[in-house]
Every structure is written in structure tokens, then in C-alpha cells.
């Protein structure tokens, strides 16, 4: 029966080409616009660490100015997003967390001896070795550096797959040497393609930028006098007693991102006690003059706290849904017009024995045909819309402005839902008409 209804529906669509085209266009444009925006919002709301959400925590300590709370344009929880180097160094000594990562963004010039490759700057992450296991970074060749490199200067480096291809043609480069800022570094390992977006482990700069090309151990700060290439925020002038780079490391500037992995609630309690104890001990030394406060935030909450999905994105999401609603209302009006025009046909079918339900279902199927067609065209519109967004964003969000199969299915689903919703009243209305009127006039 359904096959028959579908063929009836197609015939009826062809019977009123302009009206049908208008309805299909309305659904297609509505679905296209809303799927463009919803795809962006969906991709921006991804959490690459969802499977570790109950064990990973971003650590914050309120080491800020006693005269005023930390404030980044009204965002966040009034605590600095990052730690000072000295606090990170102190927390790293704890053995409560299963894994812990202290890190920040940096950049090195890369040169390769006897090579055609011109010197270039590589996005770098300076980090402790737990980074790779904590964030599930897949290894392609070799291994990560040893533990001692986290505290003492060992010139070793982990490359990402793309950089290994650029420098060594993709072969196993473990043990080879690259020059970073003119100094030799031994390749310890190469990671496979890994590019979580949003970059939940460091949301400070562009949360949709690519993950870093090279990774070096945390023990190299003093040797290379490394400053952060991410954000460094301070509130007082450094102690004039300690000069030079050491002064920067001992200063109250925050620039180190810190994550811990705490396996269960007991561990978490212990770690909270440790942080409380640490802050109290620092208070005795005259630091941490604000009320005692620290933060342990899960990845999912960290994404919300950092407002990865902007208010603007939410506004666009609602605007596109409202747009789809107008398209649906529009389709209701047009379907009503179309069905009423064909009321005599329905009257004849009723008179020949079709019951109200049959008429109702036949017309609903006709409207879902419109939905499927509109949805298919809508996907094309959404793809166009996304490529438009990619162009407008000048490469800043390339990674997320693309549609996966799930979103395509969602688009068809949305289109069918919209058209069913649109068809409900007109189909009901036509199924209630009295056949005798039409039989008389014919």
C-alpha cells in the first residue's frame, strides 16, 4: 500500500510543479541553513576526552592579586587559567595522581643538516611525558622520553607524523638528529596522526587550531630560557632580588597548564587535601593572599568554562532553528492549499471506500516525500554553507566546518520531521472533508 501511496504522491507532486517546487525549496533552504549552523555547533561541542571525563582534571590555583580577582573578559571562574612555574614544579612532586601533565605552547626554528628543507618554525609543546598517555596520543615509531627528562635538560624530541614526513620522508626517524633553535635534539619517537578539535588540553589561543608538530620535555626551560608562546598573565612586578630568567620562573606570572589524572574519589579527596595543604603552606610564606581557592575541572566542564561554544554560536543555532520553523509554517500553508485543491480526488477515494485514516496516511506520505527531497537538496545547501563558512573563517576553523555521516543522516531526519510536522494539519483537514460535496458538483 505504501508503495502505491508513494507513487500517488510523486504523481501529485508532478501535477502541481510550481507549488511542489516551492515547498521542497522551503524545506531545503530551512534544513540547509539549520544544518550548516548545527553542524558547526555540534563539531564545536565535541569532547575528545569524553571517555576519561571522570578521571581527568584541569588544575587551577588562585594565586592572583590580593587586590582583585582574576578576570578574563567576564569569562571563567575568577581564578587564573594557568599556574605559575614554581607552583607547577611543586605540584609535579606529588605521587597522588596516576598521571600529571605540566605544559605550555612554544615555537622552535627547525633545521636539518645536509637537507634541502629550508629552516622553518614548528609549533611546539613543552610538556611532561605523561601528556602522551593521559591524552591517548598514538605512537607511530619509537617511544617517549624517559622520566628524568621532565626535570633535567635532555635534548630529545617527539615529532608528529606530518613533520616526520616533511623532514625524513615518513621513515622511522628514531635516533636521528634535528636542530631546534640551532641545537641538536635526538628524535625519541614519532606520533601518529592526532588532532583533537576542540583542542581541549589547551583552549587558550585558538581552540580549533591543529595540535603541535613537535613535543619536547619539560626539563629544558632553564637551558633554553623558554618563555610561553601562549598566554602569560601577571599581576605584580617580579622580585628585583632574583634577576634574569630565574626571576621569570619564580615570578607570580601564570603560564603553565596543569592536568592530573585521579582514578577514584579517594584519590581526588587526597589531592584536594594536598592542594589545600600546599596553599596554606604558601600562605605562611606570604604568597596566595586571596581566600583559599583551587579548581579541579573535568574536561567536559572545562570546555564549557572556556566558552568554546560562543554565545554567538548559540545565537546562530537558535536563529537557524527559528528559520526552519518559518519554513515549516510556510510549508503548512502551501500544503493546505495544495491538498484542498485536490479535495475532489480525496472525495472520490472516500466515496469508493477509503476510510479517513487511509486518506490521512496517503497525504502524510506525500508530505514526507517532500521532506526527503527537501532534505537531500538541504544537504547540498548545508555543504555549500559550510564551504562558505570555511572561506569566511580564513582557515581558522577548517577542521570543524565539515559534515560527517551522522550529520547527513540528521539532516534527512530533520527534513522528514519538518515535513511531517508541516503535513499533519493539512492531511487531517483533508481527511475530514465530506465526500458528498465533491460528488455533487462533479
Amino acid at each position: 500500500m505504501i508503495g502505491y501511496y508513494i507513487s500517488l504522491a510523486m504523481r501529485s507532486l508532478r501535477g502541481t510543479p510550481i507549488l511542489s517546487a516551492l515547498m521542497i525549496a522551503a524545506i531545503a533552504v530551512g534544513v540547509g541553513a539549520s544544518m550548516t549552523v548545527l553542524t558547526l555547533n555540534y563539531m564545536m561541542s565535541q569532547n575528545a576526552l569524553a571517555h576519561k571525563d571522570d578521571v581527568l582534571y584541569a588544575v587551577q590555583l588562585d594565586s592572583w592579586d590580593p587586590n582583585g580577582a582574576y578576570n578574563r573578559g567576564g569569562r571563567g571562574n575568577e581564578m587564573p587559567w594557568q599556574l605559575t612555574y614554581r607552583d607547577a614544579e611543586a605540584l609535579l612532586r606529588s605521587d597522588i595522581p596516576t598521571r600529571q601533565v605540566a605544559m605550555h605552547r612554544f615555537g622552535f626554528t627547525v633545521t636539518l643538516e645536509d637537507s634541502e628543507v629550508r629552516p622553518f618554525v614548528a609549533e611546539t609543546r613543552v610538556t611532561t611525558r605523561d601528556f602522551f598517555s593521559m591524552f591517548d596520543v598514538p605512537m607511530l615509531y619509537g617511544n617517549i622520553w624517559n622520566e628524568d627528562a621532565d626535570t633535567s635538560p635532555v635534548q630529545t624530541v617527539v615529532l608528529n607524523k606530518a613533520l616526520n614526513e616533511k623532514l625524513f620522508g615518513g621513515e622511522d626517524s628514531v635516533g636521528k638528529t634535528v636542530e631546534l633553535n640551532g641545537e641538536p635534539f635526538t628524535v625519541a619517537g614519532v606520533i601518529d596522526y592526532w588532532n583533537p578539535s576542540p583542542k581541549v588540553y589547551d583552549l587558550n589561543n585558538n581552540p580549533f587550531s591543529d595540535s603541535e608538530e613537535i613535543y619536547i620535555p619539560f626539563g629544558l626551560h632553564r637551558k633554553f630560557q623558554i618563555y610561553s608562546w601562549g598566554n602569560t598573565n601577571g599581576w605584580n612586578s617580579p622580585d628585583p632580588e632574583v634577576e634574569g630568567y630565574e626571576g621569570h620562573l619564580l615570578s607570580e606570572s601564570v603560564w603553565i597548564q596543569f592536568w592530573v589524572e585521579l582514578d577514584n574519589d579517594t584519590r581526588k579527596k587526597e589531592y584536594e587535601n594536598l592542594l589545600t595543604g600546599y596553599i596554606q603552606q604558601q600562605k605562611e610564606q606570604g604568597r596566595f593572599q586571596r581566600p583559599l581557592k583551587f579548581g579541579l575541572t573535568r574536561p567536559s566542564e572545562w570546555l564549557v568554562l572556556n566558552e568554546v561554544l560562543h554565545d554567538d554560536n548559540r545565537v546562530l543555532g537558535w536563529a537557524s532553528l527559528a528559520f526552519l520553523l518559518v519554513c515549516v509554517v510556510n510549508a503548512v500553508a502551501l500544503l493546505l492549499a495544495k491538498f484542498l485543491r485536490k479535495a475532489p480526488e480525496a472525495g472520490v477515494r472516500r466515496a469508493l471506500g477509503a476510510n479517513r485514516n487511509a486518506i490521512f496516511i496517503q497525504h502524510l506520505i506525500e508530505s514526507s516525500c517532500i521532506g526527503v527531497l527537501g532534505g537531500l537538496i538541504g544537504i547540498c545547501f548545508a555543504l555549500l554553507g559550510l564551504s562558505g563558512i570555511r572561506m569566511l573563517s580564513m582557515g581558522q576553523i577548517d577542521q570543524i566546518a565539515s559534515m560527517d555521516w551522522l550529520m547527513m543522516l540528521a539532516a534527512i531526519g530533520l527534513a522528514i520531521l519538518a515535513s511531517l510536522l508541516a503535513g499533519l494539519y493539512p492531511a487531517w483537514r483533508i481527511s475530514r472533508t465530506n465526500p458528498s460535496i465533491y460528488l455533487k458538483t462533479q
Binding site: 630568567y245 518559518v326 519554513c327 500553508a333 569566511l392
Partner: protein, 402 residues
């Protein structure tokens, strides 16, 4: 004269369709007026003057490869080389590229050793050529002199004795308007910094920052592991110079990585999110209006077909073509009017949410009124063609039975 009574009773018979049209217009007005408010807000913010000759400036970042590098020497040699190039107006060194979204800010105080009462300002470490290079307008005082320029290592701390500030920052610090010759301090330090000059405007690093335009310039070169230059060219020469610069800089010293961008590119990429908002909302508004107009056309045609016989009777009874057209136009106006009144209420309610939940701009009544009038005009235009067609229905229709 407008045949309101029969019209209303006819509308009542078609109440669902009429309501659907009114509802569409109401929703459209609510969306379009709020979207317009947002678009207008973003356009205003993007159109803010930067104070700089953005179109003719090239920004260069370079990073030397060797570890012990004579940064001060390299900067001097590069700047001399670039300034002597034909087509180059001037060049200067800077710690950050303006309007790029990355920069430095610091707190400034009116009293020495102060802890509270600070003013936040975006700061640049640059040289005496910055005014000419950026095309800034020095409105009071003087520029830095060459002997006020200092070079320090990246780990040294140093506070110079002179600064130049923007007019906006000068007014924020000294509301009386007598900033020139006054002193500012860094927190917990007692070195005075004299304001020796005031430039009219410089938007700073972050155009969307609440304090954008509060900018302070220091005559200082901090040797670090990378440095930046700004180069201003004669109008129209930017792209030609851009091509030459990369080779010339690499030729002078190949032991480094050089990255060139134009300042207009930087500014555009800083405005990306505002630009996306403007473009997407404009597209939504246009499509929405178009869809609603098509809906009105479709429905009016349908009504007219349905009532063709009645129209024929009216014509046979003496109604002129104008009467018939007017009937449909007035009917449409009634529906549109109802919809727009509902839409006004909807727009105001939605705007409340936009302001409180999503920190968007307040919808002004002017925007609301303009949007309502435009939508009314669109709905009339959409009804016009079918109404004219209705007027052409022949009185003979009255004699036929469908």
C-alpha cells in the same frame, strides 16, 4: 469603502491560512529585527577606525636559527636596508603586530608604588619611526628621539623615562585633558614615565577588547628569540615590496625564518568571527524574507483561484478591476498588519533573552520599525502580482459552474 465586513467574514472562512501567513510574518519580524540589531552592532565594531594606514603596511616576524644571535645588530641592519628600499615610506621594529589579536597589556598607575587605582593599557615596545610607519597622527607633544631608544636583554627589566600614549588612554588617565608632561608609573615601582607625546588613535592588539584603544608606546628593543617589523609602503606598492622583502631579508641573513603578512590580512582575520556573524545572519534574513514572500504569493494565488467564481460575480455586478485588486491588497494588509503587531511583541521578548542570555545588543525601536515597514512592503509587493491577476478574471466566470 474598503468592504471590511465582507472581507472579515471571508477571512474567517479561511482563518487557518490567514493565521499561517500572519504567523510567518510575526516570526520573520522577530528574527529579522534581532538579527539586524546584531549585524548593525558588528558592522559598527568592524568599521571602527584603527588610526593606522592598514592597507599599505606589511608585518614581518622573524626568528633566528643560531642560539647566540646579535639581535640588536640584525634589527639595525634590517631596518636600514628596508628604509633605503624605493617605495618604502618607513619601517620600525615592534614587539607585537597591531590588530593581530596578540599583544601585551600592563597596568599603569598615577602614583608611584601604587597597588590600586590602576589603568589597563595595551603596550608596544617600538622605536622613533613607529608614528611614521603606522601613519599615526601625533596631536600633541613630540616623538621619541634616537637617544631615548634603549636595547635590553630578554631577561633584563628596564623602565624607560618617556612614553607616548593614545588620546583615549591620556583622557582615561587625566580626564582634565592635561596629560602631556604628566607621569605614569608601573605597579610597585617608582620610576616615573613622562608622557611626551599623544597620538590621535591606535586601536591596539585586540579590537574587541573592552579597552581597545588604550595604548602606550615605549622606545625599547628587548632582544628575544624573535622580533617583528612593520613596513609602510607608498600606496599601491605594497604587493610589489612584499615580494622583494622576503628575498632581500633572506639574502641579508639566511640564518633565520621569516614570515610576512599584510596588516589588512591580519585585521580581516581578527574580524573573522564578527564577519561570519554578519554574513550568516544576513543570509538568513534575506532567505527568510524571500521564503515568506513566496509563501504569500503561493497562498494568494490559491485563494484567488478558489474564489474565481465569486470574483466573476462581483465583476458582473459592476465592481471595477481596481476594486478587485484593492480587495486582495487590503486583505493582505490586514493579515500582514496583524502578523507584524504580533511580531513586534515577539521581537521584544526575544531581544530580552538575547541581551540577558547571550550578551547581544539591545534592539532599538528604530530598527524594529524599519524592519516592520520593510516586511509590510514586501508582503504587499508579494500580493500585488496575484491581485492584478485577480482583476483580470472575466465577469463571464460568473456564468460558468467552475
Amino acid at each position: 469603502m474598503f468592504e471590511l465586513k465582507p472581507m472579515l467574514s471571508a477571512l474567517w472562512r479561511n482563518k487557518v491560512s490567514a493565521m499561517l501567513i500572519a504567523l510567518q510574518l510575526a516570526l520573520t519580524l522577530a528574527i529579522v529585527s534581532n538579527a539586524t540589531a546584531i549585524v548593525q552592532d558588528r558592522l559598527t565594531s568592524m568599521a571602527r577606525p584603527t588610526g593606522m594606514d592598514v592597507d599599505n603596511i606589511i608585518a614581518i616576524t622573524f626568528m633566528p636559527v643560531p642560539k647566540d644571535y646579535d639581535m640588536a645588530g640584525a634589527v639595525r641592519a634590517d631596518l636600514d636596508m628596508m628604509r633605503s628600499m624605493p617605495g618604502v615610506v618607513d619601517a620600525s621594529v615592534t614587539n607585537h603586530i597591531p590588530v593581530s589579536g596578540s599583544g601585551s597589556a600592563s597596568s599603569f598607575y598615577l602614583e608611584p608604588n601604587a597597588q590600586i587605582g590602576d589603568l589597563d593599557g595595551n603596550y608596544y615596545q617600538t622605536d622613533p619611526h613607529f608614528i611614521n610607519t603606522l601613519g599615526l597622527n601625533l596631536i600633541a607633544g613630540r616623538n621619541f628621539s634616537d637617544d631615548e631608544m634603549h636595547v635590553i636583554g630578554s631577561n633584563e627589566s628596564f623602565i624607560g623615562s618617556v612614553i607616548i600614549v593614545t588620546q583615549q588612554f591620556a583622557d582615561a588617565a587625566f580626564p582634565e585633558g592635561d596629560a602631556l608632561g604628566k607621569f605614569l608609573y608601573h605597579g610597585s615601582k617608582d620610576n616615573p614615565m613622562e608622557i611626551i607625546g599623544i597620538v590621535e588613535r591606535h586601536l591596539g592588539a585586540w579590537p574587541s577588547w573592552a579597552l581597545a584603544g588604550n595604548v602606550v608606546f615605549h622606545p625599547l628593543l628587548v632582544e628575544g628569540n624573535h622580533k617583528r617589523y612593520l613596513v609602510r609602503t607608498e600606496p599601491g606598492q605594497r604587493d610589489a615590496i612584499f615580494k622583494q622583502l622576503e628575498d632581500k631579508l633572506a639574502e641579508r641573513d639566511p640564518q633565520r625564518v621569516i614570515h610576512l603578512e599584510t596588516l589588512s590580512e591580519k585585521l580581516a582575520s581578527t574580524h573573522v568571527s564578527d564577519n561570519i556573524m554578519v554574513k550568516v545572519l544576513s543570509a538568513v534574513m534575506t532567505l527568510l524574507t524571500f521564503i515568506v514572500a513566496l509563501g504569500i504569493v503561493g497562498l494568494t494565488i490559491f485563494w484567488i483561484n478558489q474564489r474565481a467564481k465569486q470574483i466573476g460575480i462581483r465583476r458582473a455586478l459592476g465592481a471595477t478591476r481596481a476594486n478587485i485588486s484593492r480587495y486582495f491588497l487590503v486583505e493582505n494588509s490586514l493579515i500582514a498588519g496583524t502578523g507584524l503587531v504580533l511580531g513586534t511583541a515577539g521581537a521584544l521578548i526575544i531581544n530580552q533573552l538575547m541581551v540577558s542570555e547571550f550578551s547581544q545588543p539591545v534592539l532599538s525601536l528604530t530598527i524594529l520599525a524599519v524592519c516592520a515597514i520593510l516586511l509590510f512592503a514586501v508582503s504587499l509587493a508579494a500580493a500585488l502580482m496575484p491581485a492584478m491577476r485577480a482583476a483580470n478574471i472575466s465577469p463571464a466566470m460568473a456564468t460558468r459552474s467552475i
